[in-house]
């Protein structure tokens, strides 16, 4: 399957990339890993007259930071999966990376691409949402930032303007005693897109068994990845019991809007998200209390 011709640009630095984006953003596509974009271009779902290949912007490929973690938008999924630094600082992102697609995809796909394509099934989204990550957005006008929790608008649509791109993610350090889990049921084909996924960040008081903090975000359960604030609120301050976990997993269903599609039915998604959320919460609390 071939690609249609396009006008090709290979900026050597961020400034050059941004000025190209400013000129051609309305008719251009940005090529990062290309694992989403190239199939879309082959199917002619994306018809780009101009292609801006940003693979050479190595300045956007980094994992660093201390109290505030920073990950460059061009960091590959594989780079995150294999990062010893993240194993200590943020194992949730490492675990999540290891569940995306398969090796060939992870070797080239990037965290920035995973997020800005705004698939409801983007696996990094629920993880970054529970981590309360901030997205750094750049354009010729300068840099600004936005919460990942307000970044997605619709399937394939984000708050990014045509002349803007993601340059990095800021991830605040989580409190001592906080645990994070990413769960996903992938579809049967090799793409492994989530039928449903959930990321949970929570901590519980070891003595009283009362939930101190709870953040939950889900993928493939609504037109965009979403944070489930009502379920979180319901959990905080409650003592852990089977009953409260059942109520929470019911509440999460009320917060989501799953559809039936080729990967799974609405009913199956509802079943999965209830089971996965309860299971993830139990796992966190059991490990915290034992």
């Amino acid at each position: 399957m071939k690609l249609r011709k396009f006008k090709y640009y290979e900026p050597q630095g961020l400034e050059e990339a941004l000025s190209l984006l400013d000129r051609f953003g309305h008719v251009a596509a940005i090529l990062a890993g290309g694992t989403d974009l190239v199939p879309l271009m082959k199917q002619k779902t994306v018809q780009a007259k101009h292609l801006i290949n940003i693979k050479h912007l190595t300045e956007l490929d980094f994992i660093r930071g201390d109290s505030m973690l920073e990950i460059g938008a061009l960091t590959t999924i594989r780079g995150i999966e294999k990062s010893d630094f993240l194993q200590k600082k943020c194992p949730l992102l490492r675990d999540t990376a290891g569940r995306i697609g398969y090796v060939q995809i992870r070797n080239v796909g990037t965290i920035g691409g995973n997020i800005c394509n705004a698939s409801p099934a983007a696996d990094f989204a629920p993880a970054l949402m529970v981590l309360d990550a901030t997205v750094e957005i750049a354009s010729v006008d300068g840099k600004k930032s936005a919460s990942i929790n307000s970044f997605f608008l619709n399937p394939g649509e984000t708050i990014l303007d045509k002349n803007e791109m993601i340059t990095r993610f800021w991830i605040p350090r989580t409190d001592e005693g906080t645990r994070c889990i990413f769960r996903k049921v992938p579809s049967g084909n090799s793409s492994g897109l989530a039928i449903a996924s959930v990321a949970v960040l929570s901590s519980v008081d070891k003595v009283s068994g009362v939930v101190r903090e709870a953040r939950i975000a889900v993928g493939s359960m609504a037109p965009t990845p979403i944070r489930c604030f009502k379920t979180e609120k319901l959990l905080v301050g409650e003592k852990i019991s089977d009953e409260i976990l059942n109520i929470a997993s019911q509440k999460i269903v009320e917060e989501t809007k799953p559809i039936s599609d080729i990967r799974g039915s609405r009913e199956y998604r509802i079943h999965l998200i209830k089971v996965m959320t309860k299971d993830a919460l139990m796992d966190i609390y059991w490990r915290n209390l034992s």
Partner: protein, 157 residues
């Protein structure tokens, strides 16, 4: 629109001007005649077109040929050394880990990337490394065994 690139494929250096919309897969098959790399789904789901780009397994159907500039590519044709097949190729033959053979190049290239990184993978690591390669003829047991056999034989050496 063309761009000049410099690329090493199976230890041979090429310098040429290439169409910017040409895929790495097309460059390997159509320009270099290296037809061991197969196109099946063309959408990055089946792994038949897997090659090594700087040692990493990638789907050549999703990568622009210009992105191979100043990189090292290894295809299935680059594994055998003179008259000797790669241990993985020998092992696939010995185990009968082939039926129609269309997925085999990709399977072997993914396995090669795995063994380069981890010479002694267990079954679950092999399965994970081959998760992006689909066989539609038969199954995966002999393929996984063939990879494991190479790891075993190299351990005893």
């Amino acid at each position: 629109m063309k761009k000049r690139i410099e690329v090493t494929v199976n230890s041979e250096k090429y310098e040429l001007a290439i169409e910017t919309h040409k895929l790495l897969l097309e460059f390997l098959r159509d320009d270099l005649g290296l037809t061991g790399t197969k196109e099946s789904c063309g959408m990055g789901e089946c792994g038949a077109c897997t090659v090594l780009l700087d040692g990493k397994a990638v789907n050549s159907c999703l990568i622009l040929a210009v992105d191979a500039d100043r990189k090292v590519i290894t295809t299935i044709e680059g594994l055998a050394k003179e008259q000797n097949l790669d241990p993985l190729q020998e092992s696939f033959i010995k185990m009968g880990a082939i039926q129609c053979g269309f997925c085999t190049s990709g399977m072997i290239m993914s396995a090669k990337a795995l063994l380069n990184e981890n010479p002694n993978p267990d079954i679950s690591e092999i399965k994970k490394a081959l998760a992006g390669n689909i066989c539609r003829c038969t199954g995966y047991k002999k393929i996984i065994k063939a990879v494991r056999m190479v790891a075993d034989s190299q351990k005893t050496r």
